[in-house]
Amino acid sequence: MTTENRADWPLYEVFVRSRNGLAHRHVGSLHAIDGTMAVEMARDVYCRRAEGVSVWVVPSASIVASDPAQKESMFEPMVSKVYRHPTFYEIPPDVKNI
């Protein structure tokens, strides 16, 4: 057996901008020894078919995420504060361009 008992290289999240004008979008993750290598590997792993014009890699450990268990309290105001949405307001149909 030749498996080294070594920890994995750090995990990076990969984001690809498919074309200018669009935002970078998360496409997956990979292990790399550093950021430079992560960009090179992201090109080979996630961009074999002209998927993008720009790649970002971010160490997964740097991402701070919301807690799924807190989803209700975190996102509840969207539902209870309906007056934040334009459909809350009644405007007579005769009024145009509003």
Partner: protein, 334 residues
């Protein structure tokens, strides 16, 4: 390229775990029933997690081991065009393995652990890759039949309840259709070539047909855990249904090639429109899965050798990254 649903074969992967709270289990099932996707940090039953880790990692291993039978022919491809195609295909399979390992890691298992299991011979992978690629026609048969069967199986996995797996499968399916088409095109070239070439194509079909049917895994009658996996929407279509679908689309493609299938019982049921096939040799399947196929030992030996021979590359990359980080730190301190 492929997952075989080996989990359904009686190891208690999908059995409900003791510690899971019944109320949480019910809430989880309700989410699945509402077609909600489950994401990495969401609560999930231990059995769901275990089943997915095993299925996704087996699938990843299959992609990686699947590079070997075809890689065998890269240096012997008959033209530059075919060599470029085969290189691109094998590179895709490597990429698919990486997507899938990443998806498995979101469930809390490390890459080193998964790769270690494969190299130690403890992990399963699709039985199909333990058959040898004897002639160039086998490259055509693999693309046409093996990738064809894989696509049939993988399309429903794009709707799997676990988000990262479903997303990986969408990428894979999108990339895999070229794999099947290049294989069929290759078979067509041979089938319309010299009598020797046609014989070679027929011989490849004869050897790959039954192993391709086995790729769908054991019959529904013998699948112990398929009902739990179906309830969790991990596996949405049964082994036998997928196998039948594959036979129905593939048989006319083979007839178009002017080839025959190595199954005297194969015949069209006019009533149902389905092609009925003869009995599958499950003893052979079990033997290959248990490690006693023609190439099991070769495949593992090749993976171990590649891993060992890559050690200096990993060490050099680590040394270079340390040097670069050191230089950056020194520059920042100036």
């Amino acid at each position: 390229m492929y997952t075989q649903g080996l989990d359904q074969r009686g190891d208690n992967a999908a059995a409900p775990a003791r510690a899971d709270d019944p109320a949480a289990l019910a809430a989880f099932q309700a989410r699945i029933d509402r077609e909600e996707k489950i994401e990495p940090n969401d609560w999930m039953p231990q059995g769901y997690r275990r089943t997915l880790v095993r299925q996704i990692s087996q699938h990843a291993h299959s992609e990686i081991v699947g590079m070997l039978p075809e890689g065998n022919w890269i240096t012997r491809a008959p033209s530059l065009r075919r060599k470029m195609i085969l290189l691109a295909k094998v590179q895709d399979e490597g990429g698919h393995g990486l997507y899938l390992y990443s998806a498995a890691e979101t469930l809390g298992v490390s890459r080193a652990e998964l790769v270690g299991q494969l190299l130690a011979g403890k992990a399963k992978y699709s039985s199909i890759f333990n058959y040898p690629t004897l002639t160039w026609a086998d490259i055509g048969a693999i693309g046409w039949l093996v990738d064809g069967a894989a696509i049939m199986n993988q399309v429903p996995l794009c709707r799997c309840s676990y988000g990262p797996y479903a997303r990986a499968m969408i990428r894979i399916c999108r990339e895999e259709s070229f794999h099947q088409r290049q294989g069929y095109e290759l078979m067509l070239k041979l089938a319309r070539g010299t009598p020797d070439q046609k014989r070679m194509a027929q011989n490849a079909l004869d050897r790959w047909w039954w192993p391709s049917l086995m790729m769908f895994g054991p019959s529904d009658r013998d699948s112990v855990h398929s009902s739990q996996n179906a309830a969790w929407k991990i596996k949405r279509v049964s082994n036998d249904e997928l196998r039948q679908k594959f036979v129905d689309v593939t048989v006319p493609q083979g007839h178009f090639l002017g080839l025959t299938f190595p199954d005297p019982d194969l015949k069209l049921d006019e009533g149902t429109g389905h092609w009925n096939h003869g009995p599958i040799d499950w003893a052979e399947f079990n033997r290959v899965v248990a490690g006693d196929g023609q190439c099991n030992r070769d495949r593992l030996a090749a993976r171990r050798k590649a891993h060992a021979e890559g050690a200096w590359v990993r060490e050099a990359a680590a040394a270079f990254a340390a040097k670069r980080a050191h230089a950056r730190a020194a520059k920042a301190a100036e």
